[in-house]
Symmetry: C2
Subunit: 201 residues, 2 copies
DNA sequence: ATAATTACTGTAATTATATACAGTATATAG
DNA sequence: CTATATACTGTATATAATTACAGTAATTAT
């Protein structure tokens, strides 16, 4: 999918705004009017270019027959089991995706992670729950974080973090604290947990 | 807002399905074709009737200019504290509403209920969580249900249910079972819990 | 009993819309 | 240097679509 030019992006945004506002796409004339074109054909040709680049589909003969092709940025991936090695968001880990427009929770969620195991039950995070993870939300002591230790992904509470000692705690008395020297073991903090979904009770 | 006739509802559903499918409303001819009318005017007149009843707005002169008026049925209420007496869904209990189209979870959710107290922590239902409640989902032994006992609303697990004995259990050892004789005390089962949302961790 | 509503057929006109064709001009890629 | 892409104007036309008008018939409200 090639990149749109500035003008083409402007037109795509106009189409999206029109749909959001009125519930249906604009006509060529609508677009021309909005952008000051003196010919509807200017809009027509832009639409063809945008279609060629894969962002829309034009239905021939149908008035307002512009279909937006789902942009992947507008989808939140749900990550199931994370394969060892490789990034969390690698395609093989994506169980399904959820349109961002349908997300009821914080709009700072980069992905949902399906919980495995019972290490966080004491704070109400159960196996099969979906945790909303933000890569940008700041992780401070006490935050529930997604960490990767020697290529294994885990969800734990961050208890202590200094240059040569990081302590992660399971919220379940049956588990011991995980104490890591990040200079010896490979440790990456992938994000922090900001919300939770349970699809069945 | 008057009720639609069967036929009018059929047409409104057709419009919604068309929008969901293609992203824009159907023409009069589309509607006529779908329902087997031999004249587009049949569709036109139905649309006028549906508009008169307040379900849509027709933009004159615009092709496919049908705007759906937001139906309140398409909003899922979030119920905060339930005032004693009166129905759960009474307006004063509604904290906010969520467009049904944004609901990621089961589409059988009639409302969300904000959890008060810690009586269900052992199965991961915490204070301030939002529980998705279905009025129609069948409640069987073992289901987590929303019950109303003598005008007080509570969330518990249904353990036993016979003509003169109903047992509800808190999922927290510190609480005793609630044993009710429905012939003596007022008991209503409002629905069963089918999903959970936690807005912050 | 009479008017209004529902539920259509059938025809036709006006307007809305897509879309082809012929240009102009500039920028960018091979 | 030449083809291709970008970004338009301007005109024209076929067809898509709304919408008015004239009916028929059954049902429902007053």
């Amino acid at each position: 999918m090639k990149n749109l030019t500035k003008r083409q992006e402007e037109i795509l945004n106009l189409i999206k705004a029109h749909i959001l506002d009125l519930g249906f796409p604009p006509t060529r004339a609508d677009i021309a009017r909005s952008l000051g074109f003196k010919s509807p054909n200017a809009a027509e040709q832009h639409l063809r270019a945008i279609e060629k680049k894969g962002f829309i589909k034009i239905l021939s003969g149908a008035s307002r027959g512009i279909i937006l092709n789902d942009n992947e940025n507008d989808q939140i991936p749900v990550i199931g089991l994370v394969a060892a090695g490789g990034p969390i968001l690698a395609e093989e880990n994506v169980e399904k995706t959820i349109p961002r427009s349908n997300n009821l929770l914080s709009n700072d969620i980069d992905y949902y992670l399906r919980v495995k195991g019972d290490s966080m039950v004491d704070i109400g995070i159960f196996e099969e729950d979906l945790i909303g993870v933000s890569k940008s939300a700041n992780t401070k002591i006490g935050s529930v974080i997604v960490a990767r230790i020697n290529n294994e992904v885990t969800v734990k509470t961050l208890i202590e973090m200094s240059q040569n000692k990081v302590v992660l705690r399971a919220e379940n008395q049956e588990y011991d604290d995980i104490i890591i020297n990040p200079k010896v073991e490979e440790l990456a903090i992938e994000g922090s947990c900001v919300a939770l979904l349970r699809e069945s009770i």
